[in-house]
């Protein structure tokens, strides 16, 4: 109730709470930098005109925003046409084909590495991965539901899965489409349960092969010699040992990364108990669709205690109960809220916004829209020192440059490859931590040079995969001073330092061709220090 009243209060207010230091345009720019992938031409004015708080409310309710243009573009992505069972079949076929080729190549004494440029049976899955990456870039660049795309990226990292690990090559599309996206602005508990049940996570963190010690399947899996690589628990074929006990990987990361946090007050005994609770949570074989399955025979029927709570005789319900319990822990609320604030407010967020987020979480049982609203209305979010204090991630940098220059991303994976070169290959973080929210992960000399290269290429119309539409953003002019003023306002929202202005002006001194002058000014600006910040 209190939250609602508060919301009504800002909607009525001309400027957000605590934003006295920011003009209406500055507030709009700040919101577009954090809740969206930066402004497109004209966005700052239109958000300022509409009122930034109203725009934020719209973003928090994305289902009421039309997104026709993106929907049209999404049709070109064939990755959205396949379902998991179909992909599982094709993956098994690809594995068999690869084995056949390896036989043939080995007979001729050749290397196992497929020759460069030759298709190879796994090409389809490499392409699928590229398709999925590019789809993320296109959605981030074009969607009207910007906050939802930002939250999809946030949760994809929070519940990280590495697409390069075996079966995750084909499980990833359904993980993004069916597990993450529908819950991006929903209740945390629902998302947590969805990830726990997702074949992608069950495979990535090895829970699929975690079984109660001594448990035996009703019929030996080993007898079925056909297929199964990559999905079935390791065992049976090739003389590899059958899994013989619990695997703690998922249990540990669930507590440390997904919920309570590393200082969340759990012990190794809790980790073991959690692993025992999740014994039996597994994946069907690919022939059966590679979906979630609970294997009763593999479940540990003994009593387990987690953080003082007892679980027994519940079968699969034990795990669901545990996930609900974890989602409702104060440590979880604090850990996830602090991470959200690190994304939206500052690398090391002030306590005020974190406390506000936790309070909203308590009040709404983890409704992410309420939690986010609490962050976006906290004075910390609007403090003048918060504006432009965060370094953009590679994805944020590239997509914001594409949006700022009115560029249109194509369907090829080339822009996603640029994001990878900048240091953030999407879905390819092997560690379960996901990518960091903080600048230390992104800023190194090679990565900065790569950003400068991408900026210069984009400005010169040479960036593969995106044609900039500079005429719309920065009309040609032979007056260099006017050109730089325009670049400053349109690309940096007026944040250009006098020093930057002087350096660019000096560079332009002997350039007479207005097209060349514009490309130079835009390239230096997008690759320069101010544009790396948000």
């Amino acid at each position: 109730m209190r939250l609602r009243l508060l919301t009504a209060a800002w909607l009525a207010a001309a400027t957000p709470l605590g934003a006295q230091g920011l003009t209406a345009r500055d507030s709009a720019l700040h919101a577009l930098n954090r809740l969206a992938y930066g402004p497109r031409p004209g966005d700052v004015d239109s958000v300022a005109r509409m009122g930034v708080m109203r725009w934020i409310e719209q973003q928090l309710d994305p289902d009421h925003l039309r997104d026709d243009r993106l929907a049209e573009r999404e049709r070109a992505f064939k990755v959205l046409d396949y379902d998991r069972a179909e992909l599982a079949q094709r993956y098994m076929e690809a594995i068999r084909e690869r084995q056949r080729i390896q036989h043939d190549m080995a007979d001729s004494g050749d290397s196992m590495e497929p020759r460069r440029g030759q298709p190879g049976p796994m090409r389809e899955f490499r392409e699928l991965g590229g398709d999925l990456q590019q789809l993320a870039v296109v959605r981030a660049a074009l969607s009207e539901r910007q906050l939802r795309e930002v939250m999809v990226d946030f949760w994809t990292n929070h519940f990280n899965v590495f697409v390069g690990k075996g079966a995750d090559r084909f499980l990833m599309p359904s993980y993004i489409e069916e597990t993450i996206r529908p819950h991006a602005l929903g209740r945390f508990e629902d998302l947590l349960i969805a990830t726990a049940r997702s074949p992608a996570m069950l495979f990535y963190l090895d829970n699929a092969q975690s079984i109660a010690p001594g448990a035996m399947p009703p019929f030996p899996l080993a007898r079925n010699g056909r297929g199964g690589q990559g999905v079935r628990a390791r065992g049976g074929t090739n003389g590899r040992p059958r899994p013989t006990g619990i695997n703690e990987n998922y249990a540990r990361e669930l507590l440390e990364l997904h919920t309570l946090g590393v200082d969340g007050g759990y012990t190794q005994q809790d980790v073991i108990a959690v692993a025992r609770i999740f014994t039996g949570w597994s994946i069907e074989r690919p022939q059966q669709g590679a979906g979630f399955v609970f294997r009763d025979w593999a479940h540990d029927r003994g009593e387990k205690r987690v953080l003082g709570v007892t679980f027994r005789d519940g079968g699969m319900d034990e795990g669901v109960r545990l996930l609900r319990f974890l989602a409702a822990q104060h440590a979880t609320m604090h850990h996830v809220s602090a991470k959200l604030c690190a994304r939206f407010v500052a690398d090391e967020p002030p306590d005020g916004c974190v406390d506000a987020a936790v309070e909203a979480w308590h009040a709404t049982n983890g409704d992410m829209r309420a939690v986010l609203r609490a962050i976006f209305t906290s004075p910390d979010f609007w403090a003048p020192q918060a504006a432009r204090s965060k370094v953009k991630t590679p994805l944020e940098f590239l997509v914001s440059a594409v949006r700022a220059t009115g560029a249109e991303p194509d369907e090829t994976p080339r822009l996603a490859q640029v994001v990878a070169r900048l240091g953030e290959p999407l879905y390819l973080q092997p560690a379960p931590t996901g990518y960091a929210e903080t600048q230390a992960q992104w800023v190194n000399s090679g990565a900065l040079l790569a950003r400068m290269n991408a900026a210069v290429a984009l400005a010169a119309g040479r960036l593969p995969g995106a044609a900039a539409n500079l005429d719309v953003v920065i009309p040609l002019t032979s007056d260099h001073s006017q050109l730089i003023d325009m670049v400053n306002v349109r690309l940096l929202g007026g944040a250009m330092s006098p020093r930057t202005r002087a350096v660019i002006l000096e560079q332009l001194a002997d350039v007479t061709d207005p097209v060349q002058a514009r490309a130079l000014a835009v390239g230096l600006t997008l690759g320069g220090p101010e544009f790396q910040k948000q």
């Binding site: 080995a106 004494g109 290397s111 000399s445 900065l448 220090p529």
Partner: protein, 415 residues
């Protein structure tokens, strides 16, 4: 937090002057004063991704069980390049025999991870983070060494990975470079004049308006570009009669040699090679694995010959995430196993020896009844190289949760 630590790392040698001075200035000053000595030690790490079959690389030809378990893929005794009567080199590695004879090549057998995983992904991750069994470690052990050990000069080329991206082993807060191609590092603009001009313009922009990590990192990048331009590593052609094998590995080794000769302060170089996951028809004296080993042997031999006297202070280490099954499988290949073998090569190496305790191939001596048991934790070898070759002072922070014990070092570096 990270920013201040980096600033501290950079200015470590100048703490006296640090009061009230801008860290950026200090960084530059520290850099100028601490130009590396040309003879400083270098470690080159070569990761064989996919799990090399240690038993066919360093062949225990003195063990009848080796031949009994591998009827189709064992290296026939007459083909093995004998080393000590018990072990020998795969014939493809014959180019390395001269280095064994002059005592600059050692093999470490039965080495690996205390973690039992047979997943490439997990095992590579553990070998690079240096924390077997702990998946959430964010940084790599080489980077932790660089950020904790402040005794060494801090140049943009201190730790360099050859490849398009920074590998896990170099991930972390200490400066490190990923270089795909030495000749193309920097702004990618074909005309040199335009490139120089834009580079200078960006440098001025960052000098003027960047703060914190953006400032220090961009400065490192521009320093690296300037140094490369000044020393022009490409001018260092391979020594006479040295021919690197064609392919990525040879090209990378050549570029590492160029960086070493250019004296830019390189301390640790990292490169990787693929194609070692030989589940099917891996071959014997010839075939698939033989082809991969031939490239490796020719590449390492060329590298050692090219560097000549400079090899006195260089150690090359090969590593791989685990070994392969003792018994060949039904497809004339081998499956994921446990311990493998690594090679150490260079002047400081205690060469001419197969190091480590050989556990034997008997069923009761095996790990889980099928694989070569691990008798040397890979961290004992890596730790020894850091301490005895590079002079690291503090291993506890490089390998957290591990108790480094010099008694357990395999003895890869000459005393």
């Amino acid at each position: 937090m990270t920013v201040s630590r980096r600033a501290f790392v950079k200015s470590g040698g100048l703490a006296l002057f640090s009061l009230g001075l801008d860290p950026l200035f200090l960084g530059r000053a520290a850099y100028a004063l601490r130009r590396p000595a040309p003879s400083s030690a270098v470690l080159v790490c070569l990761f064989q991704r996919g799990a090399v079959d240690g038993l066919n690389m360093i062949v225990p030809h003195g063990e009848p069980l080796y031949y009994r378990e591998r009827p189709r893929i064992a290296i026939p005794a007459q083909d093995v390049v004998d080393l000590d009567g018990h072990f020998g080199l795969h014939p493809s590695l014959a180019p390395l025999k001269a280095l064994w004879d002059n005592k600059s090549l050692a093999a470490i057998h039965a080495i690996g991870s205390p973690d039992a995983t047979r997943s490439h992904f997990d095992a590579q991750d553990y070998m690079e983070t240096g924390t077997p069994g702990v998946k959430s470690t964010a940084d790599g052990w080489v980077n932790r060494y660089c950020s904790h050990d402040r005794e060494h000069a801090d140049t943009p080329f201190r730790a360099v990975a050859f490849g398009p991206q920074l590998p896990r082993i170099l991930a972390g807060s200490a400066p490190s470079l990923a270089i795909d191609d030495l000749q193309a590092f920097g702004l990618r603009i074909p005309q040199e004049a335009t490139r120089d001009r834009l580079t200078r313009a960006f440098e001025q922009l960052y000098e003027g308006a960047a703060t914190g990590l953006l400032a220090s990192s961009s400065q490192e990048g521009f320093e690296a570009i300037q140094m490369l331009k000044r020393v022009d590593p490409a001018q260092y052609r391979p020594a006479a009669d040295v021919e690197y094998p064609p392919g990525r590995l040879g090209r990378t080794l050549l570029q590492i040699a160029q960086l070493i000769k250019a004296d830019v302060g390189l301390e640790i170089a990292f490169a990787d090679s693929g194609g070692w996951d030989t589940h099917v028809n891996q071959g014997s004296s010839d075939g698939q694995l033989a082809a991969r080993l031939r490239e490796l042997g020719l590449g390492l031999a060329a590298f050692a010959l090219d560097l000549g006297d400079r090899m006195r202070s260089v150690v090359v280490l090969t590593m791989s995430e685990f070994g392969r099954t003792i018994r060949e499988n039904g497809n004339s290949g081998t499956d994921h196993g446990h311990a493998t073998a690594m090679l150490a090569l260079g002047g400081p190496v205690n060469g001419g020896k197969v190091l480590g305790r050989w556990p034997g191939l008997g069923v009761e001596q095996r790990f889980e009844g099928r694989d070569v048991a691990v008798t040397t934790d890979f961290r004992d070898l890596f730790g020894e190289l850091l301490v005895r070759h590079l002079g690291a002072a503090d291993l506890a922070s490089v390998f957290p949760g591990f108790d480094p014990n010099p008694q357990k070092f395999p003895g890869a570096i000459r005393g």
